[in-house]
Each structure stands twice: as C-alpha cells, then as structure tokens.
Symmetry: C2
Subunit: 350 residues, 2 copies
C-alpha cells in the first residue's frame, strides 16, 4: 500500500502508569496492538523508564521500529485531586502524554488512570473543541444483535441540555467511526417515552435535538428496556446516570456469573451440563464482556483522548488502541468540529 | 390466633384496571394472595363491575368472605396526563381506590396503572406524610446473597438532597419491614466513592446523611459495582437515575435470556447441556426475576400506596399484595412519620 494515498500516520501516546495493574498489562496490550495498526503508525510508551524499558524488553517491543519510549517519573494516583495534580505533578506520565498531544508530538493519547484528573487536565491542556463546552466519555455497550454507544458515561455528571445536544452530535459520528453505522439512530434516555416525562433537562434536550433536523438521525426518547433491544445506535444520557448505568451493568454481569458458579457448586450433573453448554455461555460472555470494547474516547476536546478502564487487561488495552486508531483515521475530531458548528447554528435558530 | 393481640386487620383496595393485562391477571393474583393474608384481612377489587365480577367468579373468589367488589366505570390510561386525569376521571378505578384510602374505607391501595397519575393523584388525595415533601418508589432488587432496596425508582425525577435524605430514612424502615433486616446499611449511589465526586446534589446529600448520626446506618457513597455485591441493604438515588437503572437491569436480564436462546438454537449438545444445567439457570432466574418482588411502595404519602409493574402477571400481583400487607402490619407509615421528624430536626441542627 502506498502511504501517500492512505490516511496519514497515527502517533498514539500511551500512559503506562496509574491503572490497577501498573505498566505490565498496558505494555503487553501495546505489544498485541502492533498487529492491528499500520506500518507507519507509532506508539509512544510514557512512564518511568526504569520500569517501562524492562517491561518493553520482556514483551519484545523495546527495539520495535514503531515503538518509542518517553520517560515520565511521576504517577497520577486514583485519589489525586485534579487541580492539585495538574499543578504539582507536571512530570506524571498522564501529563507528559497529554503534553505530547498538545505540542504535536502525538495525535492522540490513551490512559487507564484517574478519570477526573484526565478530564480536568485534558480540558486544560487540549481545550474544549470549538462548539463543545465539556468533554464526554463514549462507551461501547452490547445489545441483542450488536453494539451501541452510551454517552456520557462519567466525564460530566452535571450535563446541561446543550451539553447533551453536543454529545448527540459527537456520539453519532463516533458510532459511525467505531461501529461502522451509516446513519446511527440517536435516542435520548429517559424515564418514559411520553413527552413531559423525565423533568426539565430532558424536555429541553428533546426540544434541542428536534431542532437539529437531518443533522442527526434522532429517534426520540428511549427507556432502559429499549437500549438492550438494539432500537438505537447511540444513547444519550447525563454523565451521572451514564456512569452509574455502566458500572451497574458490569456489576450485574459479574453477579450472574458468580451466582451460576455458586449454584453449580460440585454437583456433577450441573458441571456436565455447564460443560456442554459452555460454548453458549462463552459466546454470551464474549458478546457482553467489557474488555472487547475497553476504550472510551473523551469526545469534545481539541484532540483525541482515550480512557480505558483502570482494571483493563492486555486485551482491553489492545482494543482501546485499535479504537483510537479507528477514530484518528476517520478524522473524527475535525468531523465533529464541523458538525458541532452546524448543530449550534440550528439550535440557536427559532 | 387471637386477633385482639395480633396486628389490626388490613384492608387493601386493588385497582384492577389500567395494567397491560387488564383485570384478568390482577384478579387471578388476588385469588393467590388470599393464601398469604390473615383471616380478618380484606381485599377490595375496584373496577368496572361488569368486567371484574365475571373474572372474580372465574377465579372462584366472587363470594369469598374476604373479597369485596367496588364498581368504578372509568380507566386511567397510560397516556393520560396527571392533572387532566385527576379532574376529569373521578370515577376511574385508580381514583376510587385512592378515595377509599382517603375516607378510611381501606388502609392501602395497589395499582398497576400509570405511575405519573398515581404519584400525582396519590399526593393530591393522601397528601405527603408530615416531614416528607415528595413520595418515592422503593423497589426490591437482587444482589449476590440476598436483596436490597433501590429507591427512588421513578416517582420524583428531580430529587433534591432533602428528598434523598427523607428517602434514606424511609428506605431503611422499609428494608426492615420487607426484608427483615435489623439495622439496614444505607448507601448513596454515586459515580466514585471519593468525596467531591458526583456533583453538588451528591455532596449535599452526603453531608445531610452524615448529620443523621445513629438515626440510620449510613454506609457512605457506593458505586454501581457495589450494589450487586450486597455491600448495602438500601441504595439511595434520584428518581431519574433509579428508574433508568431499574429498567436497564431488567432489559439486560431479558437480553441475556434471549442471547442464550439464540446461541443454543437447535444444537442437540447445547440443548442437552442446557437441560442438565437448567436447575442452575432456573435458580438464577428465580433469584433475579422482577415478579418475585413485583410491588414497589410509594413511600412518603399519608397512607400506603403500592405500585406494581404495568406488565405484572398474577405472581407479581400476589407478591405486591403480600408486601403491602407486610408494610401495614409493621405500621410502616407511622414509623416513618416519627423517624422523619427526628431526621429533619437533626438535619436542621448545625
């Protein structure tokens, strides 16, 4: 393939520190991701060199032509407060990776670290994208026959109707890039599909979304039931409810797994049944499993920031890198900027 | 048993109309519930006599000494607006059942009808309980080793910190009555357990709950993950998020069931495995199934109002009646009034 006709090379800075498993899983996931990216793409591993270099050697990628290492001695911790961390931990791996994106040394960054610090520092260093006020996290969730985008899953717990309208515009473009859906149906999550239910925030958001006309494919209000039926491709909700939902669905999944184990116990008939049935159970797990869709972009910033779950294993990291590259090669940030400008004009008109 | 030393008789008015299955399942469920209530309790079936009398005869309870029939010709529909319905449908079964509670003809009522009208008409006819401003719906949800109370699941989508504090006090008493837990641990659902996460509403509610001291057993903020682990017995959340959560968890449950069916298909090995494994699957389903805990009381009104899911089958109705009787025999409304008075005093102190 001639690189001059394909999309430009992607350089992704990967913050190796601050997740639950430390640099080990992040670097192992990066090694796996090298199979997914193109020959001229690059991944920059950011972290304490004394820690990341041996791990990169162990994963046999230390001398790989598409891998670079960037030293950053400090670590953002899960209990760090955003403003304090931004001021006092300039050498932290998360800050260094963001700084590389700001000064053009990378096109995107990925972190498994403290979400609140990432949102705060990302907003400060990369600025909100023109047309958006606050970034939002977009997660990929399973439904009966495929997947949908749920956003915001936790960047902005106090979303306003205008924030939610921006998220609808960005979420539709992300569904196109990440799920390959041409005209994604966008639903507004609420407590009842009749108008007037759900309170003022929902009413105002609904009115704004209707004003967008053909700019997005707005399917109207949806309820929790509808989400998993696959009735829409993008579900818009405030960052508080979205985060609670994301974690609850995950918690419920693990509860069901534990219940099945507990009830199976050592009963030989149940064990035999579970064994015969196991391809079905594995298939369901594979369809539902969070790691398949490990990364959530923080949409609405001047450049692409990917957040992966703090507990991400190597497969989740690999998938987050793949999603990041997908978004970059779709030129998602520029597309969103244009769409937000059109949407804001439509929303401001009478 | 000598009725003079036991709790006083309970009279429950059951709104037979307005649910998805009409009066049929409601009356069949009432027939089943006669096995659970005591000999001096009464159930009053409210609905169009031309419809409910034949159904009561079919269920062989028309002449039962503990059953009464009350004619109410009109029906509240799912798309009725609260204020309009309250004004123009005075003869609707829901209104007549509420009116019976107001004028002392019944101690509690149960409806499968329009939630928004039930909340509006219940508040208007029965008034908020002294010390509470807005009613809240309390659902019973499964966790790994038992059940917990989730509230508010949809009565008040715009809950304030004070509403949430009242809900915590009422939810703890309901957990005691419905789940038999002596000192229920109460958690505040949020997006991260560090203080300062979750926005202003969460911060203020957290501060109020801490002021209650020993009045409730406050366990602090909890996340979606923790809920299904059984870390707390009562989970407090605003009515918007709670309703979305309730419906999403149900939607996810049905999605998993459908996925299992689809993946099993007609493969004989999978079918055999599923058969051998079926007691485990049935056990899980029984533990999770919404109908087991079909009724949610609307707590915070002057008298007890029970809401059952519009799609309730006879088992769900039976359980809703059982829960209602449980609440009445614990004298829940009076207990809540006293506890709210103490909590409001504590919250108002510096």
């Amino acid at each position: 393939m001639n690189p001059t006709v394909g999309p430009p090379p992607c350089r992704i800075a990967v913050d190796c520190m601050g997740g639950d498993h430390g640099a080990k899983e992040v670097i192992a996931g990066t090694a796996l991701a090298l199979d997914d990216i193109r020959a001229h793409d690059k991944i920059i591993l950011v972290g304490n060199i004394a820690e990341i270099e041996p791990l990169a050697k162990k994963s046999r990628i230390a001398a790989h032509p598409q891998i670079e290492l960037q030293h950053a001695p400090e670590i953002i911790r899960m209990d760090d407060k955003p403003m304090q961390a931004i001021k006092s931990k300039k050498d932290a791996s998360m800050m260094v990776a963001l700084e590389m994106v700001r000064n053009g040394g990378a096109d995107a960054m990925l972190s498994t670290g403290n979400t609140k610090v990432l949102v705060g520092a990302g907003t400060l260093k990369l600025r909100p994208m023109p047309g958006a006020d606050r970034p939002a996290l977009a997660a990929i969730m399973p439904h009966l026959t495929g997947h949908f985008i749920l956003m915001d899953v936790g960047a902005n717990p106090e979303s306003t109707p205008l924030h939610l309208m921006h998220n609808a515009v960005m979420g539709a473009l992300y569904a196109n890039a990440a799920l390959g859906i041409a005209k994604p149906r966008v639903g507004l999550l609420t407590v009842g599909t009749e108008e007037s239910k759900g309170g003022e925030r929902i009413n105002q958001t609904h009115a704004l979304l209707k004003k967008l006309g053909g700019e997005i494919n707005y399917a109207g209000p949806v309820e929790g039931f509808d989400m998993f039926d696959g009735e829409v491709d993008v579900v818009i909700v405030d960052g508080f409810t979205g985060n609670v939902l994301l974690k609850s669905v995950e918690g419920m999944f693990y509860m069901m797994q534990d219940l099945a184990r507990k009830k199976t116990g050592r009963n030989p008939l149940y064990l035999a049944g579970a064994l015969a049935f196991s391809p079905v159970l594995r298939g369901i797990k594979h369809h539902l499993k969070p790691e398949r869709n490990g990364g959530a972009p923080l949409l609405g910033l001047g450049a692409l920031v990917m957040k992966a779950h703090a507990s991400s294993n190597r497969n989740a990291i690999r998938n987050a890198i793949r999603l990041g590259r997908e978004a970059l090669s779709h030129n998602l940030t520029a597309q969103m900027k244009d769409a937000l400008a059109r949407a804001n004009t439509l929303a401001a008109a009478n």
